[in-house]
């Protein structure tokens, strides 16, 4: 392993857990989140490994965001098709709620419910309820520790937009979490 490969290995090791957890919070189940993170790693390596090391974090999170968006678009299309094919009827020919037929969200998985304490569950639920851009700005700034400029690069928007999204996210979280955690 040469120096640049070792640097890439260190970088990916430093972000992989957060990237996975962020993808889970965004609503993916474990398998989908692992696939999304793996695809993002490969794309970073294939397309941007030659870029300066300090650019890897915003690039990686931009790829992660795009992969996550692609995943949801694909899932939405499949769910629409699935719902159409079943015509909202189960095997007994009874009308059922379409939402019951779709794959569960991350927070619905039994192992997720049992491994997280109530505070973490409340936090993740509140984060998941934020608009995606607000959630992303908040997690990248607070959890990943990216600067405003790097967050803007990762989100492909202006620094001003990042500040706005972040402020609104903090405001919404204070409002929602205060009741749970006070």
């Amino acid at each position: 392993m040469n120096a640049s490969q070792a640097a890439m290995n260190r970088f990916l090791a430093s972000v992989e857990k957060r990237a996975f957890a962020m993808t889970r919070i965004a609503g993916s189940n474990t398998e989908d989140a692992l696939d999304i993170v793996q695809n993002s790693m490969l794309q970073l390596v294939e397309k941007y490994a030659h870029k300066p090391e300090e650019e890897w974090a915003p690039l990686f999170y931009r790829i992660l965001k795009n992969r996550t968006t692609d995943f949801y678009r694909r899932s939405a299309r499949q769910n629409r098709l699935f719902t159409f094919m079943l015509s909202a009827r189960n095997q007994d020919n009874e009308v059922v709620d379409a939402s019951e037929m779709h794959a569960g969200r991350a927070s619905d998985e039994p192992e997720n419910r049992s491994s997280l304490d109530a505070a973490s569950q409340a936090l993740n639920a509140s984060l998941a309820q934020l608009p995606p851009r607000q959630c992303q700005a908040f997690l990248l700034r607070t959890w990943e520790g990216l600067s405003v400029d790097d967050t803007a690069k990762a989100m492909n928007c202006s620094a001003g937009s990042v500040k706005t999204h972040y402020f609104r996210a903090v405001h919404a979280l204070r409002k929602r979490l205060g009741a749970h955690w006070s």
Binding site: M1, S4, S120
Partner: protein, 122 residues
């Protein structure tokens, strides 16, 4: 924008601590799969860094020379075959006699049939 009240769980610090705790509490199997994905990505990077051309074909001129050589060998093999007439195995006396007999039998049957046709018409 940071909230300094440690008891206020909605503070940014408290949220950050909680998220880091979640990060550290990932199941071992998830950590193992993330590490495997990272190793795959780094291996891909190593493969990209390697020179792509095949070393023994890398010298300019060697590939055309190899092509010419292959064409020459093919021509040397196919040329005599193309020039010689098709050689069939010769028949021995018994085989020849049998073949002649078969032809005669065919002719006899033909003649008998023709005679039958004439008789019917007559």
């Amino acid at each position: 924008m940071k909230d300094e009240h440690p008891q206020d769980p909605a503070s940014i610090d408290a949220i950050e601590r909680n998220l880091r705790r979640q990060e550290e509490a990932l199941p071992p199997e998830v950590n193992a799969r993330l590490a495997a994905a990272r190793r795959d990505a780094v291996a891909r990077m190593a493969a990209q860094d390697e020179p792509r051309r095949v070393p023994w074909l890398g010298m300019s001129g060697l590939l055309p020379a190899g092509g010419l050589l292959a064409a020459g060998v093919a021509a040397a093999i196919l040329w005599p075959v193309a020039q010689s007439p098709l050689q069939l195995p010769a028949l021995d006396d018994n085989e020849m006699a049998a073949a002649t007999e078969m032809e005669m039998l065919d002719e006899i049957e033909l003649i008998a049939w023709l005679l039958e046709q004439d008789a019917d018409v007559g």
